[in-house]
């Protein structure tokens, strides 16, 4: 459990948010040309990192806007929060 700094509303309790999983997974540009292996990669395979992970969150019980977050999954410390479409502030 932690506090999340929503880029639109400020600091709120994590229970107000829902996690949308790994961020920056690009939707296939040419879906008809994808092989089964590529579909599996896109749909199912995840980095599931122990360490710094980029993910999408939604302020479900607040402004209901989506945004991105950089969080260390080994200690739940949030390193950065940034809006959709923005470049991650940390590499």
């Amino acid at each position: 459990m932690f506090i999340i700094n929503c880029p639109y509303c400020g600091e709120r309790d994590q229970t107000e948010f829902s996690c949308g999983g790994e961020a920056h997974i690009e939707r296939p540009k040419q879906p008809t040309e994808l092989s089964d292996d590529q579909w599996a990669e896109y749909l199912f395979m995840r980095k599931n990192i122990k360490g710094v992970q980029f993910e999408r969150w939604n302020h479900a019980h607040g402004c209901r806007k989506w945004f991105n977050m950089v969080r260390d999954t080994s200690n739940d410390k949030i390193q950065a929060v940034y809006k959709m479409g923005e470049k991650p502030p940390i590499k």
Partner: protein, 417 residues
């Protein structure tokens, strides 16, 4: 077995003040090379090593464990064992395990305290009733015992449940698997460790894997905190850390690791002599032999390796427990903990070869791996020894995420995820 446990060994050791018990397994240093290495000394890993040695005569093998035996999810689960899954593939897998459970204490000469006290799954809405009835029929077609109970029968089977029609999610009925139950989780790890050790398996604790070495498409060995260990066959059974190990080998898995919580109450006199699960309101409870209520909570919605879990998850579970069992309203909770579970998109496990020769993965058990421990070990051992899956785990291959032949068990999995 060197020191067989029996009533006579108990008397003999009691007379000498319990000071002469032999250690249950050795504490060897790793050899330079093994015929096979199992990464992960939990129940599944130890069972795999045991069956590799016992059934496939592969005795030059090692189990390497980052911490201590059974210190991961084996010692963190709520010990529920059942096989009432929906699909044929799952029914085969989980009932195979249940059948081994039934004779496991005798086989291992170690009391795993397997208790077939029954598991009841409650229905709280019309869709629950339809789904659970369907599952009952599917179970019976697969030779798995299952009965449907109406509300009165639920009340009769477990009188402390609040079956009033006025509660927020009234009990509309439930299913019962009588052969299901619980076992002592530590004993399972210790029993398999002792059994495997007696067959010559090296169990190497406090040995963390830092890298998996491959030569092209073939594994060569593992880099560990105790040095490099060579092996042409490596089985990874690392639960929540499976993705971390897959990353070391340069492959990807369809897993997400999340904290799953459980908690126990102060010990009280016997009050509930079965296991009751309710997926819809997310409460499941049983009572340990020490008298504690053992309560399973849910998973957090985000990836985390912290082994803690959020407070609101526990709150939700206890709210549901209180409504279903008003008698527990003044119970105090003693301990709460989390374990990291690796969840597959279809809520079914992976027991499979990989694209790398000699590298095998047994993972993705999500929130319900304990019940499958003996079967999982047996089938994974078969897969490693023959480089081919057994027919019971053929459907649980990694390739199903490419072919689309998923085994969707979201309905029957213990925790909705």
């Amino acid at each position: 077995m060197k020191n067989k446990y029996s009533i006579f060994s108990l008397i003999k050791n009691a007379l000498s003040g319990h000071e002469n018990w032999q250690r249950a397994w050795r504490d060897p240093e790793p050899k330079k090379e093994y015929d096979a290495i199992i990464i992960g000394g939990g129940g599944h890993g130890l069972a795999t090593a045991y069956y590799l040695a016992k059934k496939h005569k592969l005795t030059n093998i090692a189990v390497v464990e980052k911490g201590w035996i059974g210190g991961g999810n084996t010692g963190r689960n709520t010990t529920i064992i059942r096989s009432n899954y929906l699909w044929d593939a799952s029914a085969g897998l989980y009932d195979h395990a249940l059948k081994i459970w039934e004779g496991l204490s005798q086989e291992l000469n170690y009391n795993v305290m397997f208790s077939q006290r029954g598991v009841m799954n409650l229905a709280h809405n019309l869709q629950d009733v339809r789904d659970l009835k369907r599952r009952t029929h599917a179970n019976r077609l697969n030779g798995i015992d299952a009965v449907w109970l109406n509300t009165e029968e639920v009340k009769k089977f477990c009188p402390i449940i609040n079956t009033s029609p006025d509660i927020r999610y009234p009990v509309l009925g439930g299913t019962l698997q009588k052969r299901a139950g619980t076992a002592r989780h530590d004993a399972v790890a210790w029993g398999y460790a002792r059994g495997a050790d007696a067959l010559g398996v090296d169990i190497i604790q406090n040995c963390e894997v830092k890298g998996i070495k491959r030569n092209g498409d073939q594994v060569e060995g593992i880099e560990t905190t105790k040095g490099f260990i060579k092996s042409k066959k490596i089985g990874v059974v690392a639960a929540g850390h499976s993705s971390v190990l897959a990353n070391m080998a340069g492959i990807r898995l369809p897993l997400e690791s999340k904290p799953l919580q459980a908690l126990v109450s102060e010990p009280v006199k016997p009050i509930i002599d079965t296991v009751v699960m309710s997926n819809a309101v997310h409460a499941y409870v049983s009572q340990s032999d020490k008298g504690e209520l053992v309560i399973g909570a849910g998973t957090d919605s985000y990836v985390s390796y912290t082994q803690k879990g959020s407070h609101n998850i526990v709150e939700e579970t206890l709210r549901a427990i209180l409504e279903l069992y008003p008698i527990f309203s003044r119970m105090k909770m003693l301990r709460q903990w989390g374990g990291i579970v690796d969840i597959c998109p279809d809520a079914s496990p992976i027991i499979s070869k990989t694209q790398i020769k000699g590298l095998y993965f047994n993972c993705g058990w999500g929130t319900g791996g304990f019940k499958a421990t003996p079967g999982s070990g047996d089938l994974f051992a078969h897969t490693i020894a023959n480089d081919e899956p057994h027919k019971l785990n053929a459907a649980f291959n990694l390739n199903r995420f490419v072919s689309g032949d998923l085994v969707d068990e979201h309905g029957a999995a213990a925790v909705a995820h």
